[in-house]
């Protein structure tokens, strides 16, 4: 089993390296003189020269890649063209703020999704199941900002003016110091992801409940509760873990839109600003960061899959 996990780990490392290559190569797409493309037509020759030196544009491509990659490894993500400060400073607090959003939404949607999905599968074909399936089908179709705007109209501006629709964090104070303004962004992200986890859990559980070994357990006279917890649920963990991982990656994309919508001071908001300002080094840093999060989450899900599968777990002992 450990051989399998190590192999999977190596694959992740290779993918991560290729991702870094791709992120770097993207900068080569900048049309014409990158420094001019970044700074725009009005830039003074001085600033252009300064940026060229900073980006080390005279050096060959591979040398620039290596020095950039070296920076990433040593925790130096470069300099922001917009603020002229280090990217690290720009991202520091924002990473924490985004993580609060992501982790809360991930935990909530996983718990709700697994529970709803299991409940729905056990009640297959009944009214409760149809209701859950119908609602999750509709919500799953909606883009993040549509859900967000609907929630704003419903809970903030028009129908029930209860919650703030915009995040106002006084500088130097963490966003969670005012928990009320976290509710709408978290709720939006949760609503985006929960339907998928619910549907997947329902599908997986339905399949497991139809399996020969669950029928056999029932024919052995095992109480239904034990059938569910001992015979059915463990088989749903592996496949569902992978879907949850995919959904967390989805969250990492959705967080961009949600932060923009609620003016939440996180990484996503920073990414939008950076794209607007053509702040190349910041865009590189953030996309690499998000991709790395995705790869790690996916790796963890696969490891869960390997560990929960006795066929793989006992491979060595055979």
């Amino acid at each position: 089993m450990s051989r399998l996990i190590i192999r999977r780990l190596l694959v992740s490392l290779v993918v991560l390296w290729l991702v870094s290559l791709l992120v770097f190569v993207a900068t080569l797409l900048l049309p014409g003189d990158p420094a001019r493309a970044i700074l725009g037509q009005q830039a003074t020759p001085d600033r252009i020269a300064a940026l060229q030196a900073q980006l080390n544009l005279d050096a060959p491509v591979w040398e620039r890649y290596l020095s950039w990659l070296g920076g990433v490894f040593t925790g130096d993500l470069g300099t922001s063209a917009a603020t002229q400060g280090p990217v690290n400073d720009l991202l520091g607090d924002r990473i924490g703020a985004s993580l609060v959003l992501l982790v809360t939404a991930a935990v909530l949607s996983t718990l709700v999704g697994l529970a709803l999905g299991t409940w729905s599968a056990v009640r297959r074909g009944r009214a409760a199941d149809h209701t859950v399936s119908g609602i999750s089908l509709v919500i799953a179709a909606l883009p993040e900002f549509v859900i967000g705007v609907a929630l704003i109209v419903l809970l903030s501006t028009t129908v029930f003016p209860l919650l703030p629709s915009v995040t106002l964090a006084p500088p130097g104070e963490p966003v969670w110091s005012q928990p009320l303004q976290l509710i709408l962004p978290v709720l939006t992200l949760t609503l985006v992801v929960t339907p998928y986890i619910t549907r997947m859990m329902r599908a997986t559980m339905s399949e497991v409940l139809d399996s020969g070994y669950v029928e056999m357990a029932r024919l052995k006279g095992i109480p239904e509760r034990t059938v569910l917890t001992r015979h059915a649920l463990p088989h749903a963990i592996g496949p569902v873990a992978q879907v949850i991982a995919l959904q967390l990656a989805w969250l990492a994309g959705g967080v961009v839109v949600v932060e923009f919508l609620f003016r939440y001071p996180g990484v996503g908001q920073a990414l939008i600003d950076a794209v607007n300002n053509r702040d190349v080094e910041v865009v590189q840093a953030i996309t690499l960061l998000i991709a790395a999060v995705y790869i790690v989450v996916n790796l963890l899900a696969d490891i869960v899959g390997i560990v929960t599968n006795p066929r793989l777990r006992t491979e060595v002992s055979r």
């Binding site: 694959v11 290779v14 993918v15 991560l16 290729l18 991702v19 791709l22 992120v23 993207a26 900068t27 797409l29 900048l30 049309p31 089908l137 509709v138 799953a140 179709a141 909606l142 883009p143 993040e144 900002f145 549509v146 705007v149 609907a150 704003i152 109209v153 501006t157 028009t158 990656a249 989805w250 990492a252 994309g253 959705g254 961009v256 839109v257 923009f260 919508l261 990414l271 939008i272 950076a274 794209v275 607007n276 053509r278 702040d279 190349v280 865009v283 590189q284 953030i286 996309t287 998000i290 991709a291 995705y294 790869i295």
Partner: protein, 291 residues
């Protein structure tokens, strides 16, 4: 349980469609989709004719409650712009979906059927692209090349491809060891022909589901990027852009936000309902084939 099969002369292909169409969600979904598509396609012509403003909708009176839905902060008639705002979005979404499906199917089938090293290379390449949330990848490209229509279509299509490829590959692998593929090999049938004539017709079920899914997502991504101000650019009338432009005045003039939000919601819910009916129909057929 296998009940004696009554031989029908209907072909399998039509059965999936017919089966899907018989489901209630398909009927609702098709209706919703058709309404919004008609609105988006005819809107640009219908708008000026109905309201008397040209497609820019300029009425010169900011935040005025004239007309069906009032005017926006720049004094443009919201209803005219709403009618004009779906066409580009729809066109981009359809094109991006087409690119994603064609590219993904080709790669997935090739990887799945050939196996071996080519399979590993294609799938590792997939993994790299899959490591970026689609929106983030689009933002990376837009940061370099700027918000342009062709780039939007291309980048969304390309990021669909690995996701479609995964499905196509899995379906191909399931089919490729079938004895009817072996039979084709017995006659030394060329690989191209095996892929197109033997494999492809037998994986249309999952691919149709994927088509519906990717269309739903494409609409969402194009609209989201426009909403972020990085998709379709002002002064064009576009639903995503309108939501962004008008959300500051949400309390004052809600229609500028609500109309486009509603249109996008109805459209994506519609396409997703159709997709779900296709998925149910395909799954049902598979179950019957196994029985």
């Amino acid at each position: 349980m296998s009940t004696p099969t009554v031989p029908s002369t209907r072909s399998r292909k039509s059965t999936v469609f017919r089966r899907a169409l018989a489901l209630p969600q398909a009927k609702i979904g098709l209706t919703l989709t058709a309404v919004v598509v008609l609105l988006a396609v005819l809107g640009p012509w219908l708008g000026p004719w109905l309201t008397g403003y040209d497609t820019t909708g300029f009425a010169g009176k900011p935040f005025h409650s004239d007309g069906v839905a009032g005017t926006d902060g720049l004094g443009r008639d919201v209803f005219t712009r709403f009618l004009a705002g779906g066409a580009t979005l729809l066109l981009y979404a359809v094109l991006a979906t087409a690119i994603g499906i064609v590219l993904g199917t080709a790669l997935g089938m090739l990887a799945g059927y050939t196996g071996g090293r080519l399979d590993s290379i294609i799938m590792r390449g997939n993994d790299v692209l899959l490591s970026f949330p689609q929106l983030v990848f689009a933002l990376l490209a837009i940061a370099m090349l700027g918000p342009q229509g062709w780039l939007l279509v291309l980048v969304i299509g390309i990021t669909h491809a690995p996701r479609v490829a995964r499905v196509a590959r899995q379906a191909t692998v399931a089919v490729k060891d079938s004895d009817y593929i072996k039979a084709a090999q017995l006659y030394a049938m060329p690989r191209r022909r095996i892929l197109l004539r033997e494999v492809l017709p037998n994986i249309t079920g999952p691919l149709m589901v994927e088509l519906g899914l990717r269309l739903t997502y494409s609409i969402g991504y194009v609209a989201s990027l426009s909403f972020l101000g990085l998709g379709i650019q002002p002064p064009a009338a576009d639903w995503g852009l309108m939501i962004n432009e008008n959300r500051i005045a949400l309390v004052l003039e809600p229609w500028g936000v609500l109309l486009p939000v509603l249109a996008i919601a109805v459209l994506t819910v519609g396409t997703n309902l159709v997709t779900d009916s296709l998925a149910s129909a395909a799954a049902g057929r598979e179950k019957e084939a196994a029985a």
